[in-house]
Symmetry: C2
Subunit: 339 residues, 2 copies
Amino acid sequence: MKATMKDIAQKTGLGLATISKYMNGGHVLEKNRIAIEAAIEELDYTVNEFARGLKTNRSKTVGVVIPQLNNIFMTSIITNVEEVLRRHGYGILVTDTGKDEEREEEAIRFLLRKKVDGLFIIATSKEVKILDVVLKNQIPVVVVDRKIERLEGITDTVLVENFQVAKKTVQYLIDHGHTKIGLLIGSRETYTSRRRMDGYREAFKENHIPIQEEWIATADFTVQGGYESTKRLLKEKEPITALFATNYEMTLGALLALNERGISIPEQVSLIGFDNPDLAKAMRPKLTLVSQPIEEIGKSAAKLLLERMELRETGKGKTIVLNASLEEGASVLKRINEK
Amino acid sequence: MKATMKDIAQKTGLGLATISKYMNGGHVLEKNRIAIEAAIEELDYTVNEFARGLKTNRSKTVGVVIPQLNNIFMTSIITNVEEVLRRHGYGILVTDTGKDEEREEEAIRFLLRKKVDGLFIIATSKEVKILDVVLKNQIPVVVVDRKIERLEGITDTVLVENFQVAKKTVQYLIDHGHTKIGLLIGSRETYTSRRRMDGYREAFKENHIPIQEEWIATADFTVQGGYESTKRLLKEKEPITALFATNYEMTLGALLALNERGISIPEQVSLIGFDNPDLAKAMRPKLTLVSQPIEEIGKSAAKLLLERMELRETGKGKTIVLNASLEEGASVLKRINEK
DNA sequence: CTCCGAGAGCGAAACGTTTCGCTCGTTTTC
DNA sequence: GAAAACGAGCGAAACGTTTCGCTCTCGGAG
């Protein structure tokens, strides 16, 4: 039915090995090249990836393990990873763990069976034990966004400097006279959330300002969570004067809640958001926010993995730390007569 | 290195064919079954999917072609599709076309090379000519959410009844005394947007109410677009009294814009949103919205494709049309003294 | 007691590549 | 001008499955 290399060899009068060589970018005589190309065109030949894989043991496919797909940050990373990899002939097999540790393990096992050449993971569980199996199979892994402590120095990692930027952001609020600052984080277990929270705490500590634990709200990384937590924060006895939301969805939720309550930004409550500069710029007042280099995260991770796969290394413990930046808008009020 | 069937055969003293039979769910004698399982365990054997694929010509992988990943509707579908397919041993190869027709074609060609067993597509271009090649290769295609007219009766399709629900929604607004109704759609080219817009027009027509073209705003399916378009609508000379946003992101954008302007819902402007009942329920006032059966879309599409792949059919032109429903909240005001 | 059929197991031939170790002819080098 | 070096092409042996057409065994029907 479908044409094979043998057919091309027959048609051109060349040997099988020569066709194979051509198909893999090798040099053949000009006249043979033309003949081969003509035959390919005529027979509509394409390499059979199964046979190729059987010989080379590469699928030209990588796995992506993500906690949940309902989140702009995650999907932006996927988009960028996909773009870079596809350009290099790699497809991405996406799996969603639904933030469940068991499903995470299942997903990775599944990808292993599918013979992926490499793996990206934004981890759900702390240890991700199953990754040991992956590494034993010589499959390179790039850990993205959430560090897996026990694998430091073993797998490659791409992270954002969350601690410093969070600290700096809170410092910025403190410098503007705020001491009652709400914080919206995803959960207390997630690496990035913890880092951001630690930065928050550190800023308070350095300024010798006491923290109220109620100011720290876990909002599940969702719009809804941000909305509800913000409402809760507004009801606290010690009313906050500023709010820092640590992802895009929670930022939207906070905005909705504040607006709905008729609380003006920044006059009554100052707000600092996260990600998505486009929206922030369009808004009035222009939103001050922490901007992560989302595109770069995906692209760096992709390039790192590509390199490992090309060289058939499993990873060298290289860690790329990217900086997020605080982009000043007009959503933070300078409080003068603070007491 | 890695164990093969031959090793299992050797270890158990059985023939290769018997092991293969076992691996594919065939019956073997109890004592052999035990021996095989022990050997598999001991040698840590797994089937080599490349070799299997070479023989069977199936990759147990399907392609997913999506216009853009930054959209809850799209990602929810992927999530559901992935869940169902993975349970059946299929992986999903996700490609993002970035709403570009050329990239859409490229993506499909790419998936073809990757030897996917089936394809889901939420189409970017109107014709998607390249699908002819896919079908010629006997690969079943399920068209999701956006009908491809020329393939009616050829590929299977899963759609939402957009026209009726949009008409009904607008009728609902009209019944509540609104005649100046803004509409946020994604673009004028997209199938779903057109259907929703047609429903909107039809409702006006049936009620003999004139439409102002300026009320129809294209907002690119994004929060930002919804936000900006809503602001624009609020500035029109003929001020709208109601707004219908036709996806989740644009709904959020509209909410932001309305709240920011201090326009109370529903007293000054009534709002009907789209998708994501969770947020809608949490909000005050509870948002009236059109709810699409997102989970069902993904699951139906997945089941449909699974069936085709199992039976090695390429599709029979079956169309599943799911109903969206109007869920009443408190974000629409009944205008009494309309004139 | 014989015969038959079902069930289990087997051997070997594919599937379509890549790659190793050759040969052969042409070009370069001293 | 001979030897060496090089580039191009080739044949054949893998890679690890599935599957076709067998054989063999055993139990039950007649």
